[in-house]
């Protein structure tokens, strides 16, 4: 699943296709006229709004039980019904937005901050450092991602924080591979060779020439990774390895609602739809970002 992220951008083509600065404004124009990007941004804004103001949007509490009001069918008071402890399903869904978005962003940013420097170091320094890093990457790549993530969570114990840690530990390799390949191909390009010949410092080469090329690609990668992380976090929570009760997390809610699937199918359907809408919105934005940064794919 996380592999999507890396594969969406064919590595070898990246360096050729991205010319810094020249099209920053073009990219922005492309984004602001992209219907999908606009739709995705609107939906995402609504979700962020719901996440921040969850407490104001509903009269109920996500964790307070009400045993005289359990398993209520959907109604005006309870849009998707109440669960087996009498908690309002819609309220928990709103609070779940908070958790899912936080996890997605947290995992992507933490992973990026480990994966990108490692990839840059491997690509720029080469030699033994590169070899060691890439051997580790190869080993991790040979595992099915989820198996490794599950084993990691089993080591550190199931909880939200630990799940984030485990996901970061197993997905940094995608950034590393991506950034390394960009840096590798850039290192040989004429303008960097020329800059080196002119006596530019290492720092100046990294910050003035390499970084501007890496950033747009990483931005696209992060946007897809946020979507990806939300999906995987839901799957792990569904297996009982992520969010712990009573946390209102969508995956955990799904696993809980499975027992009530026949009498209250909405409790199973709604969190799944919520995940889908969130991930779809982010993917819309990611797609548009990629189109904006990769002119060859644009119509």
């Amino acid at each position: 699943m996380a592999e999507h992220v890396a594969e969406l951008i064919p590595e070898a083509e990246i360096a050729e296709k991205i010319k810094p600065k020249s099209f920053t404004s073009m990219a922005w124009r492309s984004l602001s006229t992209n219907k999908q990007a606009i739709l995705g941004s609107i939906v995402l804004s609504i979700l962020v709004f719901a996440a921040i103001f969850a407490g104001q949007l509903t009269p109920y509490e996500p964790y307070t039980t009400n045993y005289s009001n359990v398993k209520q069918l959907p109604s005006a008071q309870h849009l998707i019904g109440t669960d087996e402890l009498g908690r309002d399903g819609f309220t928990r869904l709103l609070y779940g937005t908070r958790i899912s978005l936080t996890i997605g962003v947290l995992v992507a940013l933490c992973t990026m901050s480990i994966g990108v420097p490692l990839g840059a170091i491997a690509g720029y320094l080469g030699g033994v450092v590169d070899m060691v890093i890439m051997r580790v990457v190869d080993v991790l790549m040979a595992f099915p991602f989820l198996v490794l993530a599950i084993a990691m969570v089993a080591v550190v114990g199931p909880s939200l924080v630990n799940m984030v840690f485990a996901l970061v530990m197993v997905s940094w390799i995608w950034y590393t591979r991506l950034v390394r390949s960009i840096v590798l191909s850039l290192r040989e390009t004429e303008y960097i060779v020329a800059a080196q010949a002119l006596g530019a410092s290492q720092a100046s080469i990294i910050f003035r020439h390499i970084l501007p090329n890496v950033i747009p690609v990483v931005v696209v990668q992060v946007s897809f990774h946020v979507a990806e992380a939300i999906l995987i976090a839901a799957a792990l929570s569904y297996l009982g390895l992520g969010a712990q009760p009573p946390t209102a997390e969508w995956g955990a809610m799904l696993s809980n609602a499975k027992e009530l699937m026949r009498i209250l199918p909405m409790l199973s359907i709604a969190p799944g739809v919520a995940i889908m809408i969130t991930v779809l919105a982010i993917n819309f934005i990611g797609d548009a970002l990629r189109d904006a940064l990769d002119p060859t794919l644009r119509n």
């Binding site: 592999e3 190869d138 099915p144 084993a151 089993a154 569904y238 359907i269 991930v279 993917n283």
Partner: protein, 302 residues
């Protein structure tokens, strides 16, 4: 290859031994308690009291001899445990890949040929929805509709007769294929678009060949290469997805064995399973490389 195998084995071995609790405690259930001496006897017997490096070296030496050890949970050889499940996972994954091809290729190609039309937009939105859907949730929904409301297909487990088996394979493999369908459709479309814009395709068309022939003979084979790359690259994630899907549908495959063995702290089984998973990933990559040479004559090994 060999450093890779050693790396994979070492990492797995280290991980599983870091997990708190051991298999012997697991045998000692809640309804019945093993005495301290009994537990010690079992630990001694399976060498669990030896220092980790000793256990590690012993495991590697045995592995080299083809012995994957004994499952402490079931007291049967790991080889037996794995060989019982491996075919089920392979069948599930291969069926899913076939499904992906059957669904993604036509949709992707048509989208590319009808670029910019409603069909294209519809198909691509559909593909993106597929990518954005949690596969396990999709599986539960399928189970609800086809297993329960319509009662067409079995919901859980595996049929015994060939017909029942095929029927029980449908829902899990459709669910598993969802992981790749949207993604591969997009790749098919974009690589098809790229190939269609290439010079030789234009030339062929200019020479007066019908669009249909150009598309089928020239464009399609070249557009397939990235598809193969993607599917082989995604094979690991398909196996990972199988872990969750097998759990949802009670499919008796390797993924379910791995998860259950992690829960049971059955070290030898987990290490064995993960090794087999890694081997499958490595093997698929190898096969892909060989397939390139058949499809694309430009690629030859020195």
């Amino acid at each position: 290859m060999i450093p890779l195998v050693i790396g994979v084995t070492t990492l797995t071995f280290a991980l599983i031994h870091l997990i708190p609790g051991d298999a012997v405690e697991m045998i000692s259930g809640e309804t019945r308690q093993l005495t301290v001496e009994e537990k010690e006897r079992i630990r001694e017997k399976y060498g669990l009291n030896d220092p980790l490096p000793v256990q590690y070296v012993r495991y590697m030496v045995n592995l080299a001899k083809g012995d994957m050890g004994i499952s402490i949970g079931t007291r049967s050889p790991v080889k037996f445990e794995i060989s019982q499940r491996l075919p089920d996972t392979i069948i599930l994954t291969i069926t899913s890949i076939l499904l992906v091809l059957v669904i993604s290729l036509p949709i992707g190609i048509i989208s590319a040929l009808k670029r910019g039309t409603v069909i294209d937009t519809g198909a691509m939105t559909f593909a993106l929805i597929g990518i954005s859907m949690p596969a396990f949730w999709f599986g539960i929904m399928l189970m609800l509709v086809f297993g329960l409301y319509l009662d067409w297909l079995p919901t859980v487990g595996q049929g015994k007769t060939p017909l029942e088996f095929a029927k029980s394979l449908i829902l899990p493999s459709v669910t598993l294929s969802l992981i790749l369908v949207g993604f591969v459709t997009r790749i098919v479309r974009s690589s098809m678009l790229e190939v269609l814009s290439l010079d030789y395709v234009r030339t062929a068309r200019a020479k007066g060949l019908s669009t249909r022939i150009v598309n089928a003979r020239h464009a399609l084979p070249n557009a397939l290469i990235p598809v193969i790359t993607v599917i082989s690259g995604q094979f690991a994630s398909l196996l990972g997805g199988a872990v969750v899907i097998e759990q949802v549908f009670g499919w008796p495959g390797l993924g379910r064995l791995t998860v259950n063995s992690i829960f049971r702290r059955d070290y030898m089984v987990v290490t064995g399973c993960v090794l087999v998973f890694a081997f499958m990933v490595i093997l698929v990559n190898l096969v892909t490389d060989i397939m390139y040479t058949f499809i694309d004559p430009r690629i030859r090994y020195q």
